[in-house]
Subunit: 459 residues, 2 copies
């Protein structure tokens, strides 16, 4: 299969072009890059960071094989450069927010310092990874918020953008508070509980619905959830109750019923009433079918007695915001003497912040987040959010368990103002630029204006 | 890295649950499943099929390893079933439209017949693959249409949903008519031309823009495209022209300039004027920066002198339609005597078509597509679109080259009515249900209504 190919060459062609030119002209240059989201997607007031684990694994194992070099040679890259690439490893330093941390526009969520060539070549992978994992973690966090304590399960494998996305989506969704996934490989790789029921085709491959129910119950007597809407939902519920009674007599309890179509609010009430009347008060009602935070919010506002939600497409592909404006910008680079010099881009509408920065979070007495300040590394204006996670190419932190990441995310979300958690509209969480950083921006703007004969906008 | 894990377990948990139950109760059952798109995404009047190659490779290599079985055992599946799974291969028959074919809602684009267990378990992968590849091929086809003969290049690696998506997006985009990709691995795996320029960080890592331009030109004298908007675009163009003159004196021509921000229409006019005036009429103008078919259409309506478009996020993640309503439905299943019996689902709003079907395309004398008919396999109502591509688990067709798929796509698009190619709004291409299939639906509706005590809607 495709994805068995070595992935080292998952790099934008231009990274290699720039790298070869650096190799010739700026071989000893060091640089710092910031990875951040410039603009928020609609209806989002916060982002939930995920993807760091994958990035550190990538950087740790970063190298090109002989086969990769042959490919690059065919693309026209020079021999000396390729010899260098063949020996290259990643030697940089990485500062990042821990996964499961909330962050806001323009805040570096990851900062990387090292040889210019190395820090440039890793750009494509870093952007891709943060884009996907953070996008889904953020979406899933909204869905978990909407579900208000009810169970949310990842059913997205069939509609994620490919195999890799299906795994990262399951992991991100779990960090954001989902309780399980339908994706068996994700369950295995990350230790996430595997969940699932049955498809309509299962019911349809038996002559009668009841037969199908019996066959399934018999195979999985202690985790049986029956899909009741293949033909007629009320009749399906009657059949489910009948079969549940037969198995209760043998000591097995029906675990749940699933509703996947029709008027879910009305059907869930019918289901609850029929199940309760028949003495099946503990049977859970699972809803699925094109769900997202908006639908779930409505269901709960209308007091639908649903216990669990199976959420697929709209979470796994973050359908209302299927990309983040995540970018990777150079913030400083060494001059010919090897001294780091801050740099910034200021073409119209696209100004970046220079220098080696830190994100400081200011909290109130209860621990709630009041505001963030983007400042220079040593300004000390609140709790520093970026931590050193890699030094000289070595991972220097113990990766937390997925459960711990889930707990951190939960705590982070709890410390957000309620207004930031609204599903509709946007609340601007205050993010300031520090006095020190502001001075640097002003100084540098004047200097660059002179040097490049242009007038930058204020950031 | 994640994606090095064996992918056999990229299967929804419920597929295994159903399979184990089939193993016990319907072991010999055979079934036919249809894969189709139920509802069109907004602004689409056709879909461009891609993903078959990956599916056939998956089916051909389908198997579970010992390690997979251990995982499934831990998840509670029974020993006998797992022994069976360990030996299972895919033995089915697959009919499909060739990649690069246009198709429409409710038309099976892939039909699969084989042992019920096997045809059920492959569902997750098949849906995932068609969803991603067809979604991006369709989006890219619209972008290529908008570009009206100008070059379109895939720059989406950094914002596709993961690594697998980046590869499939590059391939699908190429089938749809893109001319190259920035993704080096995709270039290698599929033989797609690799393309790219430079990043703003490259310019910023030199003290002066001109220095950066010179260094890049020197490294790649015959494929140099300069990014001119890092500081001030006009000044950038002046610098590019100056450096281009220096290299022309040495016998090298500047290939292009890239505009990535600001008022692209106005800047492209300025760029063309300045380049022409300086004697660089052949230097191409490449635009990039959050492009899609709508922006490109506007640029060309406003007569922007742009030669090439680098398109990223909005194509690779199909941002305005990031999923397809692609589904996999059982259409017939054998009874206890082994005779195939058509079946259908008819819960409210979700009716499926029963039986073993074919899609017939009716063309006019010029070859243009007039209408399609979904009929029973042997009705012969036009050109049959589904071809047998796999028999008894063996691939029985020679996979065309990517270039051939691109040509087929181009021909298919050319045969579509102009109204179907509009970028805004939807034109309903006529898709009828054949008399034979209609009779089957009516008969089956009555029968199922009786059996399941409900009243199906008409499909």
């Amino acid at each position: 299969m495709l994805t068995r190919a070595p992935l080292n060459l998952l790099v934008d062609f231009y990274e290699f072009s720039m790298a070869e030119s650096y190799f010739r002209h700026r071989f000893k240059a060091q640089a710092t890059f910031d990875l951040f989201v410039r603009n928020m997607p609609p209806n989002r007031s916060y982002l939930l960071f995920a993807g760091l684990d994958e990035i550190l694994r990538y950087l740790k194992n970063f190298k090109f094989t002989q086969e990769d070099l042959v490919t690059l040679e065919r693309l026209g890259f020079g021999e000396e450069f390729l010899t260098y690439l063949g020996k290259m490893r990643f030697h940089g330093e990485v500062w990042a927010m821990p996964e499961g941390t909330v962050f806001f526009p323009n805040e570096p969520v990851l900062r990387i310092t090292g040889p210019l060539i190395e820090t440039q070549i890793v750009e494509s992978f870093l952007l891709n990874t943060v884009n996907l994992s953070t996008m889904v973690a953020t979406k899933a966090s909204r869905i978990v918020t909407a579900a208000a304590g009810r169970g949310v399960y990842d059913f997205s494998l069939r509609r994620t953008h490919g195999m890799d996305a299906s795994l990262k989506a399951a992991r991100s969704a779990y960090i954001a508070g989902c309780r399980g996934t339908s994706n068996v490989l994700a369950s295995k790789l990350y230790g996430i509980p595997a969940v699932g029921t049955m498809a309509h085709s299962y019911i349809m491959s038996f002559a009668k619905e009841k037969e199908a129910f019996r066959a399934f119950f018999e195979a999985f007597p202690d985790r049986c959830i029956l899909l009741v809407d293949t033909y007629d939902t009320e009749e399906g519920l009657r059949n489910a109750i009948k079969v549940a009674r037969e198995f209760r007599a043998k000591g097995h309890e029906l675990k749940g019923v699933r509703l996947d179509s029709g008027d879910i609010v009305a059907l869930s009430r019918t289901a609850r009433r029929m199940l309760d009347a028949a003495g099946f008060r503990k049977v859970r009602i699972l809803a699925s079918g094109d769900l997202d935070e908006y639908k779930i919010e409505r269901f709960l506002r209308e007091k639908a007695p649903i216990d669990d939600f199976g959420v697929g497409t709209k979470m796994g592909a973050s359908v209302d915001a299927p990309s983040l404006d995540v970018i990777y910008k150079i913030a400083e680079v060494t001059d010919t003497e090897g001294v780091f010099v801050p740099t910034m881009k200021f073409s119209k509408k696209k100004v970046t912040l220079p220098g080696r920065k830190q994100v400081f979070r200011v909290k109130d007495k209860s621990g709630s987040y009041v505001r963030d300040v983007i400042g220079l590394e040593d300004e000390g204006l609140g709790e520093p959010m970026l931590q050193m996670v890699m030094h000289a190419g070595e991972v220097i932190y113990a990766p937390p368990s997925l459960k711990e990441l889930q707990e951190r995310a939960q705590k982070n979300i709890a410390c957000l103002k309620t207004s930031c958690k609204r599903l509709h509209g946007v609340t601007d969480y205050p993010v300031a630029v520090s006095p020190g950083l502001n001075r640097m921006v002003r100084r540098l703007s004047l200097e660059l204006k002179k040097r490049h004969k242009t007038s930058p906008k204020k950031p």
